[in-house]
């Protein structure tokens, strides 16, 4: 089973990288960009067939390692077999 985990700075927290990228986009000719959040994406291959168990495991991975929940939010997404349902 393949999954994608995305980790982003939390909305209420200023994201210095995202802001710099927004300003750079404006400089190269995209003035209409209101906001950019710069995060990370992980592609994870998992053994097992149970989508619920996989999602549970992925959330646990985020809580324990992949995200720092003090400053980051995360989303997990199954890319096949799990109908791509976000949680």
């Amino acid at each position: 089973m393949k999954a994608r985990v995305t980790v982003y700075p939390r909305r209420e927290i200023l994201d210095p990288q995202g802001k710099a990228i927004r300003d750079a986009l404006s400089r190269v000719g995209f003035p209409g960009v209101d906001d950019v959040r710069a995060g990370k994406s992980f592609e994870i291959s998992l053994a097992g067939e149970d989508p619920e168990a996989a999602r549970r495991q992925l959330r646990d991975m985020c809580e324990r390692l992949l995200a720092n929940t003090v400053v980051e939010d995360y989303a997990v997404e199954l890319l096949d077999g799990g109908a791509g349902v976000q949680s």
Binding site: L14, P16, L65, L66, N68, V70, V71
Partner: protein, 239 residues
């Protein structure tokens, strides 16, 4: 007092703090390897600066899960002294020994220069040799020192008197919004934080880089001398 300096793959200030503890402060010092799960009886444990595990994922995230950190957590839980400097502070945050988290510096640059700190607490094992409100000039060298936490958690941190050092002007005034004096944009200009027990301290600036007259600055020596002297008193009293 017996001091241990933890060495992670990617630590690069380990020999600096070892030198100050051993040759300037004449202490018994040993290196502690990240794969070890004991502290060899060390009373003061220092997590040094550097880029532990290459700062992969997030600064300090991988190091926080290494075997030695289990021993460091037990030591901290028993009231033992733990000092995290720069990357060591980031490791303490990721290990949950100190609340909060680090973001990239506000200007996105690696900053390497002197800053001014105000010592907010002088009743800790790490700071008892300072005068109340004393200022320090001390170097920083980091890309991620922009301390952050939720506003209510920052309020709790202040209420518990866990803010030990704050970035200030050379006159000792707060200038939180001025990048010259609050260089990385840290929330409430926070440069150093302790746990509620006061036995674990994390700080971004480098006291070991200003601890000898030949370096032109000994402000950091006051902190390290406090730790090694108070530490033996505290631990001696407990035995």
């Amino acid at each position: 007092m017996k001091c241990g300096v933890v060495v992670f793959p990617g630590s690069n200030c380990d020999h600096d703090i070892y030198h100050v503890l051993k040759h300037v402060l004449q202490q018994d010092v040993t290196f502690l390897w990240h794969q070890d799960d004991t502290l060899q009886g060390c009373e003061l444990v220092v997590l040094p600066g550097g880029f532990a595990y290459g700062d992969y994922l997030r600064a300090g995230a991988m190091a926080a899960l290494s075997p030695v950190m289990g021993a460091v957590k037990r030591h901290a839980g028993a009231g033992g002294l733990v000092l995290g400097i720069c990357n060591g502070f980031q490791v303490l945050l990721e290990a949950g020994l100190i609340p909060g988290a680090m973001r990239r510096n506000q200007n996105l640059r690696f900053l390497c220069r002197d800053v001014y700190l105000k010592v907010e607490r002088t009743d800790l094992p790490f700071t008892w040799k300072f005068r109340p409100g004393q200022l320090m000039r001390i170097p920083i060298a980091h890309g991620e020192g922009n301390y952050e936490d939720a506003p209510e958690r920052l309020d709790a941190l202040e209420a518990n008197r866990q803010v030990v050092f704050r970035y200030v002007t050379p006159e000792g005034e707060r200038a939180d919004a001025d990048p010259q004096w609050n260089p990385n944009g840290a929330a409430r200009a926070i440069a150093g934080v302790c746990n509620t027990g006061g036995n674990v301290l994390g700080m971004m600036p480098h006291p070991e880089r200003c601890a000898e007259p030949i370096l032109g600055n000994t402000d950091g020596l006051t902190l390290l001398a406090s730790a090694v002297e108070a530490g033996s008193q505290v631990l001696g009293a407990r035995r």
